[in-house]
Amino acid sequence: MQLPQPDLSRLADDLRSRFAELRGEVRQARGEIALHVPVASLDDAMRVLRDEDQFAFEQLVDLCGVDFSAFGSGYQGLFVQDAINERSFDSRDETDSQPRFAVVYHLLSYRHNHRLRVRTTLAAGPIPTCPSVVELWPAANWFEREAFDLFGIAFTGHPDLRRLLTDYGFIGHPFRRDFPVYGKVEMRYDPKQGRVIYQPVSIKPREVVPRIRRKDNFGGAGASG
């Protein structure tokens, strides 16, 4: 099996020169290249990445949604108990103009042995929308259905945008940060009615290990001497 060695700097240069007009931003870290494109030019950018010879990304490896509304939250103090006592997270309200959702694509080129991560942040609004890439890569079909199901991201142009993983008749988008990990309803058999019923969940939310973000050089970490 003869394969070209991945040449990251060449790919990064090609991306920079080709995507300048589409306002793409190239980032390179840990041996990976990421391209951030605005959602308006996503469709064009993806077509270029698949069809032009210097990129030739024949495969969409992965597509996922990310909810950035709680990014950077977490307890910074010294005692873990304090973090458990104060519930740190409160969700953003819908009118917030900061972009909340992002869609992340992982592309693979067999010809050049390259990988690329494409990220686009979606405009704030009641329903985040993103153009579908099913036409370019049929593999995107289920990945987009999954992102719609779990995050409520609507992919315009998707031929069959149904829920995929959650239950029939499920309400809500469970991977959003404001959706509790315990869920909102629980199910039990009701002997009076003689059938299975749903009712509001009776478990109290509880955090065993809080999310802790230490300040830089906490406890002398990284200090020399």
């Binding site: 099996m1 870290a29 495969q59 490896v61 992965d62 289920w142 239950d167 290990v209 802790i212």
Partner: protein
Amino acid sequence: MAEIRNYTMNFGPQHPAAHGVLRLVLELDGETVVRADPHIGLLHRATEKLAEQRMYLQSVPYMDRLDYVSMMCNEHAYVMAIEKLLDVQVPIRARYIRTLFDEITRILNHLLWLGAHGLDIGAMSMFLYAFREREDLMDCYEAVSGARMHAAYYRPGGVYRDLPDSMPIYEPSKVRSKADCDRRNEHRRGSLLDFIWAFSERFPGCVDEYETLLTDNRIWKQRTVGIGVVEPERAKALGFTGPMLRGSGVPWDLRKAQPYEVYADLDFDIPVGVNGDCYDRYLVRVEEMRQSNRIVRQCVEWLRANEGPVMTDDHKVAPPKRVDMKSGMEELIHHFKFFTEGFAVPAGDAYAAVEHPKGEFGIYLVADGSNKPYRLKIRAPGFAHLAAMDELVRGHMLADVVALIGTMDIVFGEIDR
């Protein structure tokens, strides 16, 4: 004239050939499938959401439960993503151990696949043969981690502990005679490496046995040749990876193309199919077992000759030595903080992929600088394969649906996550 209508049928979720909980809504025209609509999610446990609520180390056992027939490969992608973000160097011995167990896992997975696929389309005895060898490999899992399946053996920075010097021995009892024990204990007198070596001597002969049963079997060929043909370009577009892609004739394997751990130093070949049908994918997987055996032997030889640490000495990531923890105050505090608060991973994102027995298994990890992942996305190979189910079964007979589910090597733990 009677009115002729298409017939809609429910396949699963409790059908034995559905390999778990697949509900397949099939639209039939006579016995020909017109449309297939897989309904998945019956095993959805929201592993990705759960991982956001837990420290990095606590999610390692969740990875075992994704694809529950190739446990350590799942862990491998997860710890590789963490190591990438932390920029931790893994000791060379740990890398060989990981390679060894990745290949043992590949054999384990392909044996189960071969047994279950055979069982689905009528080769009953395959299952019994495959499980005979699986038992020995499960013992290897148990020897290193204490668990036969859900090992939690790979850790960020290395592996949990070094390979043991002895294997557990069967003892005679009311239900097991001394002669039987002696036969089972024949290769258990030495270390784990001796046990694996003895297995690798025997295993190519076992694969020959499987091939005697299937490769030229008339019924087997009638059920698999020409079924579910995928063109190479279409396979790429549909997101196929692993044997599904190689069966179509694309020579692509992450172990060769983007080598991780020590695969670059090892000698092995990548089998590739020609026609892209179920039979070629069967041949590819059988040959992969032989190649895995080659890799296992090379790893055992290296591990016998070279000693060394199996965990990084960066104690931000690795727990203190147990004997130090029992005798030193600082180590005790370190141990307590390590397992209650965990370690922080610097903010950023990383994607790590391994050549899982089923295809490319990837972990996309977004870290926010705290002790828990911010977002974890699991890229399961079976997910993309099952998504192409509709396209593959159209025009085939109802009985071929079972052959196609089998050839995809579907496990619902990873598809539903």
